[in-house]
C-alpha cells in the first residue's frame, strides 16, 4: 500500500508540473487548472485509503466545513475582489502548514531528529508569516485598513532584528526540542513580522506581494513535507515556492519595477481592488 500511495503521489506531482506549465498559456490554461485539480483529488483519495489513518471523524468534519466555506466564497466573490480572495486562500494554506507542523510536534511530544526540528521551525515561521501577511494584504485591498503604505523610522532594521530573533529562537529549539515555549515565542515573533513586513507596501503593489506570499506558502508546505517525510508535499511545495518567485519577478518587470523596489520603497498609495 505504501508503494501504491507513493506512485500515486508521483503521478499527482507530475500533474501539478504539467498543469502549472499549461496555466502559463492562454489556450491551455483552463485545461491546466483541471489537470492540477485532478492531481489534488487523487492525492487526497490515496491518502484517505492509506492504512495510517485510524479515525475519520475529524477528517470528514474538516473536509465538509472547509469545502462548504471555500466553495461558497469562491462562487459569491465579486470578480473585482479576486486578488484579495487569492490572498485570503493563500493565508489559509500557510496556516494549514503551520498547524500540521505543530500537530506533529504535539504528537511526537518533543522527541525528534535534528532534520525534523529544523524544518518544523521553518514550517511554523514561514506558515505564520504567510497567514498574517496575507490577512494584511486582504485587509488593505478590501479597504478594511488603509491601502497607503504605513511606515515608521527604522522599519527595515526592526524587521531584520525580528527575523534574527526568530531564527535564534529556532536555533535554541533545535538544540532542545523539548522546550515548547520556544515554538510559542517563534509564532508570536512571526505574527509581528507578518504585519511589519506587509504594512509598508502600498495597495497598488499588493498583487506582487500576494504572489510572493504564495511562494512562501509553497515553501511552508515543502518544510511540512520534511517534517512528515512526505515527498508529494516536498515536490509540490518546492514547485510552488520556486515558480512563485519567478512569477513575482515577471509581475515586477511588467510594472517596470524591481522586487526590492516594491518591497522597500513604500510607493503606490491607492487601494488596488476597491
Amino acid at each position: 500500500m505504501v508503494t501504491i500511495t507513493n506512485i500515486v503521489y508521483l503521478i499527482s506531482a507530475s500533474f501539478f508540473i504539467i498543469g502549472l506549465r499549461w496555466l502559463g498559456s492562454p489556450k491551455t490554461a483552463r485545461k491546466g487548472n483541471l489537470l492540477s485539480m485532478l492531481g489534488m483529488l487523487i492525492a487526497i483519495v490515496v491518502t484517505l485509503l492509506d492504512k495510517n489513518i485510524l479515525d475519520f471523524t475529524y477528517i470528514i468534519a474538516g473536509l465538509i466545513i472547509g469545502a462548504a466555506i471555500g466553495a461558497y466564497v469562491a462562487k459569491t466573490v465579486e470578480m473585482t475582489a479576486m486578488p484579495q480572495m487569492v490572498a485570503l486562500f493563500n493565508g489559509f494554506g500557510g496556516a494549514a502548514s503551520a498547524l500540521v507542523a505543530y500537530s506533529e510536534y504535539v504528537r511526537v511530544q518533543g522527541v525528534m531528529n535534528i532534520d525534523v526540528s529544523i524544518t518544523l521551525v521553518l514550517s511554523l515561521l514561514i506558515g505564520v508569516v504567510t497567514l498574517v501577511g496575507s490577512l494584511i494584504a486582504y485587509a488593505k485591498l478590501q479597504g478594511i485598513m488603509t491601502g497607503a503604505p504605513i511606515t515608521f523610522p527604522g522599519q527595515k532594521f526592526a524587521n531584520g532584528v525580528l527575523l534574527f530573533v526568530a531564527l535564534a529562537l529556532g536555533g535554541f529549539f533545535v538544540a532542545d526540542p523539548s522546550v515548547e515555549m520556544f515554538l510559542l515565542v517563534i509564532i508570536g515573533v512571526a505574527v509581528i513580522l507578518g504585519i511589519t513586513s506587509v504594512i509598508p507596501i502600498g495597495g497598488a503593489d499588493m498583487p506582487v506581494v500576494i504572489s510572493l506570499l504564495n511562494s512562501y506558502s509553497g515553501l511552508a508546505a515543502a518544510m511540512t513535507g520534511f517534517v512528515l517525510s512526505n515527498n508529494v508535499l516536498i515536490i509540490s511545495g518546492a514547485l510552488v515556492g520556486a515558480s512563485g518567485i519567478i512569477l513575482t519577478n515577471i509581475m515586477c518587470k511588467a510594472m517596470n519595477r524591481s522586487l526590492a523596489n516594491v518591497l522597500f520603497a513604500a510607493v503606490g498609495t491607492d487601494g488596488g481592488g476597491g
Partner: protein, 98 residues
C-alpha cells in the same frame, strides 16, 4: 539519515523544475496563474489529513482538524476561483467577436 538526504535531493530538483516551468506569461494570465499555483500549495491538505486521522493524542488531532479545514478552504476555494477567472476570459473573447 539516508531518507532525509533523498528528500533533500527531491526538494532541490523540484525547485529547479519550478524555476523552469514558468516562462513567458501574458499579463492577463498573471492573476490566474498565481491563483492556480496557490491552489497547488494547498497540497499541505495531505499532511493535514494525516495529522487529523492518526494517533490518539487529542490536541494533535484538533490541530489536525483545524489544518484540514484551512487547507480545504485553500484547495476548493483556490481551484474554483481560478476556474472562474479563466472562464471569464473565454467569455470575454467571444464577446469581442460579436
Amino acid at each position: 539519515m539516508d531518507g532525509i538526504l533523498i528528500s533533500l535531493y527531491i526538494f532541490v530538483l523540484a525547485i529547479f523544475v519550478g524555476f523552469e516551468v514558468i516562462t513567458k506569461v501574458p499579463p492577463l494570465l498573471h492573476t490566474p496563474l498565481m491563483s492556480g499555483s496557490n491552489a497547488i500549495s494547498g497540497i499541505t491538505i495531505v499532511g493535514a489529513l494525516i495529522s487529523a486521522g492518526a494517533g490518539h493524542n487529542q490536541v494533535a488531532k484538533i490541530l489536525g482538524l483545524l489544518a484540514v479545514i484551512t487547507a480545504t478552504i485553500n484547495v476548493v476555494g483556490g481551484y474554483l476561483v481560478t476556474d472562474r477567472m479563466l472562464e471569464m476570459f473565454k467569455k470575454d473573447k467571444t464577446g469581442q467577436k460579436r
